[in-house]
């Protein structure tokens, strides 16, 4: 509220603000960078987590697959053992073997061999042509022997190492031999040899749910791939897991390759979620930053507006003051402080009466303020005048314009007042009025002087002639009496004197004409009378009247009846009369220090006896004051020329007023006003509009 109380924005403060602004922007940068780093890390970690998830699942799958394989191989070995139970004949064995082969695709061939490893019976897989067609079974004898040797040593099923078996179609198979010994009394009696296809092991013995979308392979320890199931997809990310499959007589690695469908930025829901949240976070950050920037901009705009307003207030020569509803001063601008000589701190928060009220007027002001604060009477729009006191005790006139202070909710919170120091203006007005009055007086004097000069010349001529004739006549008469000499004979003295007398008479008449012409000149103003609207007469004097009224603090009330006829008058003279009466009234109230002064000027048409007598309509002007009235002893002398009650007066005002009014045919009188004061009334003839008179 109190902008005046705010310290001025100093240079260090501005620098600090600049610094803060740059600091703020770098903080924002840091925040964004940190958030970005965190998000990247999160995404990366999520990726990592997912990868490890995939890896561990793959590891689990591999372990499952391995377990499957182990149990399947064990079961297979038992199936082969079961083939020998019940002393089979080679034929029945072949049937059983063929039935087994139909169930187990992983076996290419089953043989029954005796203890000397000679084939007793054999059966080939019905699912494909004999795998040994090209290679010849005999070539695999070493592997069989190795496997059976192992089997005999461990007294249980044993495997050979795998070997490549070329095929007729030009392809080949990686196969290994399983040898299941038949032990009787600790001595092997025969062997069942089954040829496993590694590829078929992978495709049949490992659960299809494990091998889906995976590539399963057997490799040797050095990484050489022996068999493969499932197909690899190029360009995809591969996860790999290996487990050792150690069989009696053979050791292989089961390798499982898993991939992910497409190179994905959001490999799974978590990452996607994190990413989405990150994006949301970033978006919020961006929005926040933008909002902050907008706020900053608004702040800057506000600061600018504030500075603008402050500059405006500081540059004002008009004093501003705000009061709350209790009359406490809530705001003052520098001009107001300067006007009064008080500092803002001395004035702010000050309650009634403020230090700038002159003590002798405080009571009146207090009354005025109570009326104002109670909201009974709105202050005049054009302002009112008052007198304030500076800190040094000197008084000066101010013009106060007040307006209600209404907050954003529409509730009045106090009053805002503007103050104009009008002492200078007053002085200038005073000066100009004084000089104007002087000028008028000078002009009047000049006119009088000119007139006197003209008059003296005009009168001088006939007077000089008269004087000459008279002197000449005396000369002649002297001559006559001195002696009827030669002069008398040549000079008809009596005749001459007669001529002279006649001339004297002529010149006297001429002088009389001069005097009459002066009179005529004065009367000529009668012809300058013209119809004037009463309102126009008042309008002409109002500026001067209100000037003085403001000065002495008198409200002026004007009432002009509607439909008044024009008055026939010499407007200049009548204006003088009105002005004189108004001034007298205001001076009377001012001198007597009337507490509640008022000046009323009224114009009305009058009927009645006066109108009836003259057969004319009349308009009455009245000027009423609330002054002390006129004492009886003064009343008697009121219209006497050169009688005055004023120290600076000439005593001509009222007597001239009456002369002017009477010249117009009207009358000027006065009567006491109620409850106090005086009313001056004068009448002027109205224009005879409808009557056709004159």
């Amino acid at each position: 509220m109190s902008a005046a109380a705010l310290p001025a924005q100093s240079a260090p403060v501005r620098a600090w603000r600049r610094l803060a602004a740059s600091k703020r922007s770098s903080l924002w940068g840091l925040l964004i960078a940190l958030v970005a780093a965190m998000l990247v890390t999160l995404v990366w970690l999520a990726g990592r987590y997912e990868a490890s998830q995939v890896q561990s699942r793959l590891d689990r799958d591999t372990a499952d697959a391995l377990a499957d394989l182990r149990s399947a191989l064990t079961r297979n070995a038992q199936s082969l053992q079961a083939l020998q139970s019940g002393r089979p004949t080679p034929d029945s064995w072949s049937n059983d073997a063929a039935a087994l082969l139909r169930e187990h695709r992983e076996w290419m061939r089953i043989e029954w061999r005796n203890a000397g490893l000679e084939t007793i019976a054999s059966a080939d897989s019905p699912f494909r042509p004999s795998v040994f067609a090209r290679f010849g079974r005999g070539n695999a004898q070493a592997d069989v022997a190795l496997a059976c040797g192992n089997a005999r040593r461990v007294s249980g099923p044993a495997y050979s190492s795998s070997y490549f078996l070329p095929q007729l179609d030009g392809m080949g198979l990686q196969v290994m031999e399983l040898c299941v010994p038949q032990i009787a009394n600790g001595q092997p009696t025969g062997y069942v040899v089954a040829t496993y296809s590694l590829t078929e092991i992978l495709s049949d013995l490992v659960g299809p749910q494990l091998t889906r979308s995976k590539q399963v392979a057997f490799t040797e320890a050095d990484g050489t791939r022996l068999a493969l199931h499932g197909s690899a997809r190029r360009g995809s990310r591969i996860f790999t897991s290996q487990q050792l499959l150690d069989l009696p007589g053979n050791t292989m690695l089961l390798r499982m390759d898993s991939w992910r469908g497409a190179p994905d930025l959001f490999p799974n829901v978590l990452t996607a979620l994190v990413t989405a949240m990150s994006i949301a976070l970033l978006a919020v950050l961006v929005l926040l930053a933008r909002d902050a920037r907008r706020r900053l901009q608004a702040e800057r705009d506000l600061a600018d507006a504030l500075a603008f307003r402050k500059a405006m207030e500081d540059s004002l020569v008009t004093g501003l003051r705000a009061r709350d509803r209790q009359g406490r001063i809530t705001y003052v601008n520098p001009a107001f402080c300067q006007m009064l000589g008080f500092s803002a701190e001395e004035l702010l928060g000050h309650t009634t009466p403020p230090p700038y009220w002159p003590p002798e007027l405080a009571g009146e002001y207090l009354k005025r303020q109570e009326i104002r604060l109670s909201g009974q009477k709105a202050p005049p729009r054009e302002g009112y005048e008052s007198v304030f006191m500076r800190k040094d005790g000197s008084r000066f006139p101010v013009l106060i314009i007040e307006a209600p202070l209404i907050n954003k909710d529409g509730v009045q919170t106090g009053w805002m007042s503007a103050f104009l120091d009008i002492s200078e203006q007053r002085r200038v007005e005073e000066l100009s009025r004084a000089s104007q009055e002087r000028l008028q007086a000078t002009a009047r004097l000049a006119t009088v002087g000119e007139m006197a000069s003209l008059l003296s010349h005009e009168l001088n001529q006939p007077l000089a002639a008269i004087s000459s004739y008279a002197t000449g006549s005396i000369n002649l008469l002297n001559l006559q009496t001195a002696g009827a000499g030669a002069a008398a004979t040549e000079f008809d003295a009596l005749g001459e004197i007669e001529v002279a007398m006649r001339r004297i008479a002529e010149q006297a008449e001429r002088a009389g004409k001069v005097i009459k012409s002066v009179h005529d000149f004065v009367r000529r103003r009668d012809q300058e009378r013209e119809p004037m609207a009463p309102q126009a007469l008042l309008d002409a004097i109002m500026p001067l009247v209100s000037l003085q009224a403001r000065k002495v603090g008198v409200p002026v009330r004007i009432r002009v009846e509607d439909g008044l006829p024009a008055v026939v008058c010499d407007s200049t003279m009548v204006e003088q009369v009105l002005l004189n009466l108004a001034r007298n009234a205001m001076q009377a109230m001012d001198q007597a220090r009337v507490s509640d002064p008022s000046l009323a000027i009224e114009v009305r048409a009058i009927a009645g006896t006066l109108a009836a007598q003259s057969g004319k309509a009349w308009v009455e002007f009245s000027v009423a004051d609330l002054g002390p009235g006129i004492p009886p002893e003064i009343q008697r002398q009121l219209f006497t020329p050169f009688f005055t009650t004023k120290s600076e007066g000439m005593g001509l005002g009222l007597s001239l007023c009456r002369t002017v009014v009477e010249q117009h045919g009207g009358s000027l009188r006065f009567e006491p006003n109620h409850p106090q004061g005086t009313i001056f009334r004068f009448t002027l003839p109205a224009e005879a509009a409808g009557r056709g008179a004159n």
Partner: protein, 208 residues
């Protein structure tokens, strides 16, 4: 009366009653006058070859329509007439600086209206007297000059030496003529110049 019968008072005033009254007044004191209604009328008289042969003076109103009294006075100054025709100004408005100025420049007097009439006439008579005296002096000088022009060369030489107070014998020596001849010339000079003695002759010539 003393100024002589042929003296004339010129009256210039735009107001007919004033100038006629003045003329009448002057007549009651046996003074002739001529009236003019303005500066231009009187100027016309001057233009038509006026020369002040008889004593005269001028009563001049300062303020007149057309040519004012001051303008007319300037013309008179230019013509050198102010000496022989003394000017008495008449005015209704006493303006001391103007009056002083006019008198300094040669005006005879300055009378304020309404004037004391006989006093004015007295001043008029004084002016006429002065005019007459001036005219007389001027005439005398003219006569003297005419006489001088009647002398022969030889007579003039003799006259000069006579005025210097030289005796006849010395004059004869200086002019290389006989004493007898000097005496004849001397007698002729005395005769022509209408003097009776050498002293009278010397006074006369010195006044020139």
């Amino acid at each position: 009366m003393q100024a002589g019968h042929n003296a004339t008072v010129f009256i210039v005033d735009d107001d007919v009653s004033v100038r006629e009254a003045l003329a009448w007044l002057l007549r009651s004191r046996q003074l002739q006058s001529e009236v003019f209604s303005g500066g231009h009328e009187f100027d016309a008289v001057l233009e038509s070859g006026f020369s002040a042969s008889s004593p005269c003076c001028l009563l001049l109103d300062v303020r007149m329509p057309g040519m004012s009294g001051l303008a007319l006075f300037d013309k008179l100054l230019a013509r050198g007439l102010v000496e022989v025709m003394p000017v008495i100004f008449l005015t209704g408005h006493a303006d001391v600086p103007t009056a002083v100025d006019l008198v300094k420049r040669g005006a005879f007097d300055f009378c304020e209206k309404p004037f004391s009439d006989n006093a004015l006439v007295d001043r008029v008579e004084q002016a006429l007297k002065r005019s007459a005296a001036l005219l007389a002096a001027r005439n005398e000088k003219l006569v003297l000059q005419r006489r001088l022009t009647e002398l022969t060369e030889r007579e003039r030489a003799v006259m000069r030496l006579v005025i210097e107070g030289a005796p006849n014998k010395l004059i004869a020596d200086q002019l290389d003529i006989s004493v007898r001849t000097v005496e004849v010339h001397r007698a002729r000079v005395f005769d022509k110049m209408e003097v009776k003695s050498a002293v009278e002759l010397a006074n006369l010539v010195r006044s020139l």
